[in-house]
């Protein structure tokens, strides 16, 4: 009986949690399809007085540019975490093996890179003047692939895999590459998914690569493209305000902010439920010591 009550109580709490999460998203969606003038006259309304897609029309005015920017963001969000898993995973695997004689020294070296970085300007010089990454699509995929944090997370997870499994595979004649691909990675799904998803999220939301390394509009990622759209709408609105010789164009800057939020969040919201179970397991790595 007590258990049933507890279950009911838990459900109520969870439902309230869902509402707390859902309502703001719902409001943002509704505001993004509201009429700009209604917002200015009557404030924010959960249910719009008039449905108006002006903000979306403004963003999708140049559909090709939106598609290109989305493509660049997808390219970056998928390719970069994949490379991260390959590079950090192989390093982490080597470091997790007690047979690797210099692992302590290598770990110290990796720790140093976590404490000190080269700084923005030297990084920019190396990337643009030596690696030729300026206005290069690869800049979206190859920056910051190896990070000490990811190596340590992977190494810690790999260390928990019984050594006997690796030894058994070696006896069966498997190479290290085979062991890594066929045994280590499948057994490490939670941490791999967690790092992959964090990286994907980070790349999806980041616009600094476009800001610093890209001036070719075809290579902008979605976040930078959307930020430019908002800036240029605000700028145009201000210009109209200062040019009385012109009819004041109704540029929906208020609703545009919400429409941009929706467009930039939507892909992440769609993908998250499918990898959430791995993600929650992965982030708990290292939390328990036995």
């Amino acid at each position: 009986m007590q258990s049933k009550k507890f279950t009911a109580f838990s459900h109520i709490i969870l439902m309230l949690n869902c509402i707390v999460v859902f309502v703001p998203i719902f409001i943002v969606v509704m505001l993004s399809v509201s009429n700009e003038q209604d917002i200015l006259d009557y404030g924010y309304k959960v249910i719009p007085m008039h449905i108006d897609f002006s903000a979306y029309k403004l963003i999708f005015e140049d559909m090709t540019a939106v598609a290109k920017a989305t493509g660049v963001s997808l390219f970056s969000s998928i390719l970069s975490p994949t490379f991260v898993i390959i590079l950090c995973g192989t390093i982490g695997y080597a470091l997790s093996q007690p047979r690797f004689a210099y692992r302590k020294h290598v770990m110290k070296y990796i720790l140093v890179t976590m404490l000190f970085s080269g700084g923005l300007i030297p990084t920019y010089i190396i990337n643009t003047q030596y690696l030729g990454l300026y206005n290069n699509i690869l800049v979206h995929a190859v920056l910051g692939l190896v990070s000490g944090t990811n190596i340590i997370l992977l190494k810690t997870f790999f260390s928990q895999i019984p050594t006997s499994l690796i030894e058994a595979a070696e006896i069966d004649g498997a190479s290290q590459k085979r062991i890594f691909v066929s045994i280590i990675l499948p057994m490490s799904k939670p941490i791999v998914a967690s790092i992959f998803f964090s990286g994907m999220l980070g790349h999806w939301n980041d616009y600094s690569r476009s800001l610093y390394y890209i001036s070719d509009k075809d290579l902008f990622d979605l976040q930078y493209f959307l930020q430019n759209a908002l800036q240029s709408a605000s700028f145009l609105k201000e210009t109209y305000a200062n040019n009385p010789s012109f009819a004041n164009d109704a540029i929906p800057v208020e609703t545009l902010k919400f429409a941009l939020s929706i467009i930039s969040c939507l892909p992440v919201l769609l993908v998250f439920p499918y990898i959430q179970k791995y993600y929650s397991k992965g982030v708990a790595v290292g939390a328990v010591k036995e």
């Binding site: 800036q231 240029s232 305000a241 004041n248």
Partner: protein
């Protein structure tokens, strides 16, 4: 006879040698590509316009190509580009980046010698627009060439939506502003009366109304004070424009500041300024805003009032001019105050060729090239036929860009806002430059501007670099409180914060700073 001829020949040669440096020709046999970084988004036809531009350029400066880099992020990354020694030959610079800092960092190349040797058109402009050019100079050396626009003077206005015009005391407001060079308490009372009537009218159903206190402060509260060392927005070192002693004071300690913050706090309490203005004031109806306008020309429907029309042809806003020429002045000089400039970065490998190109685009001879760069191809031009595309139509001397009327956006086929490049007076007139506006601007620059009152510190530019440490300490104390005070967010308790701000500014060395800057001002006045 032979002696005489030889003497004459020698004299001719000497004169020729003396003038040899003028209009120096650079060796253009070497092929050079000039990189020009512009504050604008790249557009669909940028490549074909560049191709055509280079074809035309060959006729004027042989073996020279232009590579335009469009970059809207220039303000955020200028320091990084320069630190990384990116080789740009020409660059846009202006209000999105700290020009004084960029000058102190040595990122702008000194231009006097280059102008003397390769820039006769620039030399001519320097005489014609001496005041504008002085804002791009430091210690007599030109570093930044102003992108001449029809900028006449900076004056402010108060703008209200047309639906509230019946509540606005326009005659009293204009009279009070125009007859006082500083903003008086009566002006605030008149505005408060307007706010209360709007609120009581119920026209804004949500009841959430606000003015824009930040622009209001910048454009209205600071009237009658000239700021030194930095631009008006974040400045606090100033002097009364009618004080002949030219004594520099801290604006935050003036009666004008104290009076305004009292009203700002009260207006928040009464619901005339959004409580959360500093974090967005989302969903509020703006019933009044201010701005600084560079051009008040030909649009007065009534004296001192401009009408702003909506797409339906009805008046949407009214703008009320706060100053007339009686209250305007020529004051202290601020580096970068003309907003947008063209510079040659210190990283340029071809400064001579860069100056030749800038000079060409600033001359009558290169006006067509400038038009090509700004607007693209005209509908009936050969280039339009060759490339199968065009970017504007020309009616008389007015260029109408395709799919834009004021400024091209990133989705336009082609167009660079005219304030980004060169001298607007040499360009085709665009729809947002009214007929006769250029002539009016030129007349204002030549005749009206010189006749405006010159303040005691006219032309003074303090050496802020020597005081940078003290300035940043005092500014940091100021920035902790200033925004909340002028937005009225602190409500009734504003005086406690105000006193804390002044105490912190004093502790940070305000008195020493004022003493040092006043010493510079006195030296300047004594040398005048």
């Amino acid at each position: 006879m032979l002696k005489k001829s030889l003497s004459l020949l020698l004299a001719v040669c000497m004169v020729a040698f003396v003038f040899a440096g003028c209009g120096k020709k650079v060796d253009t046999s070497k092929e050079v590509t000039l990189k020009w970084i512009l504050f604008n988004a790249e557009q669909q036809d940028a490549d074909v316009v560049e191709k055509e531009f280079n074809k035309q350029l060959e006729k004027f400066i042989p073996n020279t190509k232009l590579d335009i880099v469009f970059d809207t992020g220039i303000g955020s990354k200028w320091s990084m580009l320069m630190a990384a020694k990116e080789e740009y030959d020409i660059a846009w610079t202006g209000y999105t980046l700290g020009m004084s800092g960029a000058l102190n960092d040595g990122t702008y190349m000194p231009l006097n010698d280059l102008v003397k040797d390769y820039g006769p058109a620039i030399e001519k402009e320097m005489k014609e627009y001496a005041d504008s050019y002085s804002t791009g100079m430091d210690d007599g050396e030109l570093y930044a060439i102003p992108n001449q626009q029809p900028i006449l003077h900076q004056t402010s206005y108060f703008r209200i939506p047309a639906e509230f015009i019946e509540y606005f005391p326009k005659a009293d407001f204009l009279k009070e502003c125009h007859s006082n060079y500083k903003t008086t308490e009566k002006t605030y009372q008149l505005l408060e009366d307007y706010f209360s009537k709007v609120k009581a009218s119920g026209k804004v159903a949500s009841g959430k109304i606000t003015i824009d206190p930040l622009n209001f402060f910048k454009a209205v509260v600071t009237r009658g004070y000239d700021f030194v060392g930095t631009s008006m927005g974040g400045a606090w070192l100033c002097y009364d424009v009618r004080d002949n002693s030219g004594k520099i004071v801290n604006f935050m300690q003036t009666d004008a500041y104290k009076l305004y913050i009292k009203y700002a706090a009260d207006w928040v309490e009464k619901g005339y300024i959004a409580q959360d203005y500093l974090v967005g004031a989302n969903g509020y109806k703006e019933i009044g805003t201010c701005n600084v306008t560079e051009m008040w020309y030909g649009l007065d429907e009534e004296e001192g009032v401009r009408y702003q029309y909506g797409k339906d042809g009805k008046v949407e806003y009214y703008q009320f001019l706060t100053d007339t020429t009686d209250n305007m002045y020529n004051g202290a000089s601020i580096f970068g105050s003309e907003k947008t400039y063209t510079v040659i970065p210190y990283t340029s490998q071809n400064p001579e060729r860069a100056m030749m190109l800038i000079n060409l685009l600033r001359s009558e001879e290169g006006a067509d090239l400038l038009n090509l760069m700004i607007y693209g191809f005209e509908k009936n031009s050969d280039a339009a036929k060759e490339y199968g595309t065009y970017h504007y139509t020309l009616t008389d001397d007015c260029a109408q860009g395709i799919d834009y009327t004021i400024q091209p956006s990133s989705t336009s086929i082609y167009g660079i806002p005219h304030w980004v490049v060169g001298n607007v007076f040499l360009c085709y007139r665009t729809p947002n430059i009214l007929e006769g506006q250029s002539e009016y601007a030129k007349d204002f620059i030549a005749n009206v501007k010189p006749s405006l009152t010159k303040t005691a510190l006219y032309g003074f530019r303090p050496d802020m670099e020597a005081l940078s440490l003290q300035t940043s300490r005092v500014s940091s104390a100021l920035s902790e409180y200033h925004s909340t005070l002028i937005a009225g967010s602190l409500g009734k308790n504003y005086m406690a914060s105000y006193n804390a701000m002044i105490d912190k500014m004093n502790t940070a060395g305000l008195e020493d700073l004022l003493e040092a800057i006043n010493k510079q001002a006195k030296d300047y006045m004594s040398k005048k």
